[in-house]
Every structure is written in structure tokens, then in C-alpha cells.
Symmetry: C3
Subunit: 283 residues, 3 copies
């Protein structure tokens, strides 16, 4: 459902069952930049694998917002080389009974809490195996009750980036927690979808994929309506005058509502979950 | 005009016309840290050149503020080794007719949209050649209409960091878009300049270079006046008591107005474009 | 006093007096992400040592807040490999008479202004020697009066990361500036401590170490009281219902006050310096 996922050409890219480390670990967290949390995780990683390159996807996921973390990971993971370890830590249940897991797919290793944060990214991946991170040999001891990013996830990701077989990390699990995303509904010339994410520019990214959008750039102009915003569908932001709303196919491959040189979310009060109606324009 | 530029000793440093890659790419964008945009660009870069080191200059340029992006790039680029690829993406016209370009100078390769964001950095550089990024072999296909940072600029920068001849990227252009910066005006014992940039400390960086400042640290104390702020010219911030304004020659080599242990921009409402008068003090 | 310090197993790890570079430099500053300051420092570092890996601890220390910078560095430094160069620049006195220093300890090299920012990290380290950074051969010339991060500290750290003997950097100093931290006071079944730091989640980290906390997880439930917050001591955040306060042993090894799925600092107005009483619960 998400506009992008982590299997762009995955079938072709896979040869056999091996997954050679790319030498990269990505980080997606809600730890923010204010404190020492992310830096500390990198210290742990580099102490275990000095040759690895750690790439920040983002650390500004709103505190505890698993859904936003899942969206960010799903939107970015496929742009990394095969064999990359993707680590996502948005983990309000840290220290409780929720499990820490690694998911090996056809192209990547995903590490994080089993609370759905990995769900978007693996949605269209071919999952090979899932393990629970329980082997104390691959964590910092003693494990704190509040910072598994440092004590559990960073060590696991670092060992995996060195080629450790994931089954060494703990017992096999049959499945992982997934998040459900709404599908757009088609009704004649109307499509009803909803906003999945609002980005830093205030662009509202919807779940209406480009295959749903009728006549994009063609003869029948279409209109996206959300709250009091009425945005014509165009090919790029500056196709409307400055300050005006516009709906474009964004970089995730889905419709997004923007304001040229402005902030659509602020101007129209758009938020995640808001319904969006896409329809043929009256004129 | 900018206090610093990217040709510190450039003439001496250049030997012939080759420009050997330094192994570094810098990034200056308005993508922010909230989303996955920057991380995704790095994934693309590292997929093409796994050995390159990517350095963030900043991603917090105000959304669409080409002038601020140009200032940040111009203030930092010369501190990187010769052969570095400087990529700047502040690109409100993404998807429109504006071109994406690479500028080869005596010391660096600059990549970005042709909207002025590269203008400050190349202002005192010796420009060798300019090309338009049009060769589809060096971009991600299909190119989205909203995220050329990922689909056009990151791949181009990555290939250049591997030593690709820039002329492979597209047709030659005669010149690039530049931004005009105001020059300070001298009138007797007064100099009138203006604020070019306000930094995170609230320091207001002006266009009055150190060669303009009379008697700095000498016998005639001078005063910088901007809005209701009257700041004596001193050698460093703590030369005035805490909470008081002070004007110093900042790290760009130009006069800046600060408040010791405080925020001059907030205290006095200083903003980019405000006129600044530098004059001999009355006492 | 700080919950963590930089000598985790330091005695055992040290063999002789050599300190082989780890190939890492960490950065802890108040430069923020808005401008080009951090990127510029990295350019200088990589120009001197192209092979070094630079890890950001944080750049969001509040402007000039030496105490917060010291806390962040002390909380993270021990998680990096032995031989890492830790550079901390929170430096409101830049350009004044305060010295720039390097401290060689049993495990690390610490570089920064001599204003206390290194004090927390070296508190339980075995200090070997301290030098003042005065040798112009290892700085950028001319040295600006406002940006020693770029002109003094970054070059020194880069040279040290290549194995330069610290005594080459300048004259030896007998000691460094330290910060004093309050000790918790025990009075019968009560312990009075205080808040040392509030993190991005709004968790209030205290100076009450886990060795002080009576019966943690045992039969006598305990209560942490701070302003109008009454937080039961539990093993992890989700041991209380969503929105309720909870006191846990945090990742620094000291008691912290949190709100499950919320922000304790905002909810209860908790701030650094606030007293915290830990006591046996009435029930």
C-alpha cells in the first residue's frame, strides 16, 4: 500500500539465499538530536564493526510515533544497497514484554522492536526469517530498562553488518507485528483516500497511488479536496502560482497536497488521517 | 563580497586542469531532519560510490530560502579539501524548467539547481566549465517531479566523486544564475552595510568586511548601530559584560552583531536585510 | 557522581601508557544544525585526517550551557572504543583568556575549552596529562576570535586522531576546570537528590544512583516526589498506565522521572536543579 517499499526489483536482485553485508547500517529513531542517544549508539556500533558506515535516516520521529517511524523507513529503505541493515527504534514499550527482532528479507536485514515499526518496510518484501534478539552474547550487559537502542539493537545491528547469521541472535518467530494502512476507495469518478504523513515542507502525503490517479497531466484536470483545501492536480509545484495549493505525484509515488512556496499543512490544517477526495474538476 | 569564498589560495593549489576527487561530498539542503529525505540521498550516493564520505553542511536552510543556502555554502566550502563535490539543494522550482547543473571550478565541483544557490560559493572562484545535468544514464529513472535531490543530484554527485568527467553529464552552459549582494557604502566616518544572515546564536552577520572596519582594536572605538542596538566594536564576545551587545569580526571575516551570552537577533529584532551603520563612537 | 563516566573497565583495558588512535572523533557542541559550523569543522578534520570517522554526539546543547554539554559528554564517552578523541565545544568565552586544552586519560583524549565542559567526563577517569593548545603549527592561521571550533579545536583533534603526541600541542597544565555536582543526601528512609538533566522525551534524570535506590523492584514500593509529581518507582515506563508518572533507573544508572507515553517535564514543570525526594510509599 505504501507508495514505496523495499523490494524495488528485489526478485531480480536476489541470487540464492545469501545476503552479503553492504557495509551500511541505517538508523531511524525518535531519539532526536538534543541528547547523546544517537551518538552513543554509533559508538557501540563502531566498537563492534569499525568499518561500517552508519547513515541517519531520521531521528526526529515524534516521540513514540510508531506509525511515522514505519512510514519513514518504508519510504527510504529501498534506496540503499542490498545487504544493508536497517535499524529502527521507536519503542515506547522499551523494557516491557515486547520483543526485539531481526527480519531477514530477500534484500535487507531489519532490526527493531516488534511493535509495527518494521511493518511498512517489509510489507511487500519477501520475508525469509524472523528471530527474537535474546542471545546475551550479542548485547551490552547489563541491559538497561530504558535504552535498548544502545544495549540491544545497536550491538545486534553491528554484528549483523559483519555478516553474523541472524539465527545466532535468538529463537525463530513465525511472524511480526504489522500496521494496517487504509486502502483508497473508488466510487465512480471519485477516489477517497487519506493523509498518511505530513512532511517538513507541510506537504500532505496520501495513500492514493499514481495508478489510481486518473488522467494525470492529461485532458481531464482533477482536483484533490481535503478540509477547505481544493488543489488541482499538476505535474510539479510551480505549475500553480506562489501561495496556491497543488496536488502532485510525490517522490513516494502517491498523491500529495502542497502549496507552492508555502506550507499546505499549516495553511489548511491538514493532518494525518484526514480524508482526501480526488475527483474530476467541474470545468 | 561574501566574507569567505571558496578560493582560499586556489590559484596556488591548482596544478593543471585535473581535479582529483577528495573522496568527500558535502550536502547543503532545506530538507530538514524530520523526514527521510537526506538519508535517502545518502543511500543513493553510497550505492554508487561506497567509498565516499558524505558530510552534512546543514539541512536546516529555511524551506526554499535560496539566499540562505547560498550563504551557508559560501561560508563553508573552502574548508574542505580540493576535489570535494559540494551539493546544494534548495530548490523551490523542482520539476519546473529550471536546470540542474554542475560547475567545475579551480578547486571544486558544485552541483545543484541553477537558481543562485551555488552563486555565492563560486563568486570568487575561477569557473572552468558548467554543464546541465541531463544525461539519463546518471540519474535514477523514472525521475520524480518533486525530489531531484534523490533522483538527479545525488547520483550526479556520486558519479563525480568517483572521477566522472562532468562533461558526461549533459550539454555545456555558458553561465549560471547568480545572486546579487549589496556592497557596503562608505560616507566619511560612516559605513553603511546590511545584515546578510542571522545564525543560531542570534548573531547578525553583516556584509562589512574586516578591511572596511576602521581602527579595529585600536584607539578609536567604533560603534555598530542597527535598529535600537548600539554595539561597540570589540575583539571578542566577552569583552562586554553579559547581556550587552557587541560587534566583532566574525569567523567569515565580516562584522557581526552579537550579545554576550545572549541572542542579538531576539533582543533587538535584527533580521536579514536590516541596514547597519558602523561609525566612530562619540566618546 | 554522574551515573556513567568514561572509565568502564578502564584499568583493565589499559596496557602501558600508549593510547592507540581508534580512528574516531566525537563532537559535542552547541553549534546547532541550522548553520554551517559543524560541517565546516568536519571539513577541517577530514582535510587533516581523511581516514578518520567523525561521530556527532549532539550539537543541540543549549547555547553556552557548559553544564549540559558536560553531562552529554559524560553520558556517552565511555561507549566509544579506547583511543577515541572526544571533542566538546560549548564555549561562551571563545576569544577571551580561557584556555583550549587536551586531556589525555587512561582511555581517551578529550579536547575542548577549559571551562568545565570536559569536567564530567574526566571525573572518574585517570588523568595522565593536560596540555594547553597553543602551538600555531596545529591550528588554522589566522585564528578567528569567534570560531575556535574550526580554527583551533578541529585541527588539534584531527592531528591527535592521527597519533600526534599531545605534548606537541602546547605547554603542560597542572589541572583543568571542573564542575561541582550536588550529592544526594540520605536522611532515614528519604533520599534528597536533584534533577541534573531533562532529555528530549521530557524525562528528568536525577543524581540518585541505583545504589541509592532502596528495594528497587522489591517489596517496598518507593515513590519519587518532585514539584507536584508523585512517581512510583518501577522497572520500566510501561509498568504504569499511559499518561501516568513513573520513576525508573535510566540508562545512565540513575533514577529518572518520566511519564509513560508522555512528557514529564512539560506535565509537571520539571527543570534542572529541582529537588527530588525518594521515599518509601505510604501504602
Amino acid at each position: 500500500l505504501l507508495g514505496s517499499n523495499c523490494e524495488r526489483g528485489g526478485a531480480e536482485r536476489e541470487a540464492g539465499t545469501t545476503l552479503r553485508p553492504s557495509g551500511l547500517i541505517t538508523l531511524t529513531t525518535d531519539f532526536g538530536g538534543k541528547d547523546w542517544f544517537v551518538g552513543t549508539m554509533k559508538g557501540v556500533v563502531l566498537g563492534i564493526n569499525p568499518a561500517v558506515v552508519v547513515v541517519d535516516v531520521t531521528h526526529e520521529i515524534p516521540s513514540g510515533d510508531v506509525r511515522a517511524g514505519a512510514f519513514a523507513l518504508a519510504s527510504s529503505c529501498s534506496y540503499f544497497p542490498r545487504g544493508t541493515v536497517h535499524l529502527a527504534v521507536v519503542d515506547p514499550g522499551v523494557g516491557s514484554a515486547r520483543k526485539a527482532i531481526v527480519v531477514r528479507t530477500a534484500n535487507y536485514l531489519f532490526v527493531g522492536p516488534n511493535n509495527g515499526v518494521l511493518g511498512g518496510a517489509v510489507a511487500k518484501e519477501t520475508i525469509r526469517e524472523i528471530f527474537s534478539l535474546e542471545n546475551p552474547a550479542y548485547s551490552l550487559q547489563p541491559i538497561s530498562r530504558t535504552f535498548h537502542g544502545r544495549d540491544v539493537f545497536a550491538p545486534a545491528a553491528a554484528h549483523l553488518s559483519r555478516g553474523l547469521n541472524p539465527q545466532k541472535l535468538g529463537p525463530r518467530l513465525p511472524d511480526l507485528v504489522r500496521l494496517s494502512y487504509p486502502h483508497p476507495q473508488t466510487s465512480g469518478p471519485h477516489i477517497q483516500g487519506e493523509i498518511l504523513y505530513v512532511d517538513r515542507f507541510g506537504n500532505a502525503i496520501t495513500n492514493i497511488g499514481q495508478d489510481f490517479v486518473p488522467n494525470l497531466g492529461g485532458r481531464t484536470p482533477s482536483l484533490a479536496v481535503c478540509r477547505r483545501c481544493r488543489a488541482p492536480v499538476k505535474a510539479f509545484y510551480q505549475a500553480v502560482v506562489s501561495g496556491r495549493p497543488v496536488a502532485v505525484i510525490g517522490s513516494n509515488g502517491t498523491l500529495e497536497i502542497a502549496v507552492n512556496n508555502g506550507n499546505a499543512s499549516e495553511k489548511f490544517g491538514l493532518r494525518r488521517g484526514d480524508p482526501v477526495i480526488l475527483r474530476a474538476s467541474r470545468r
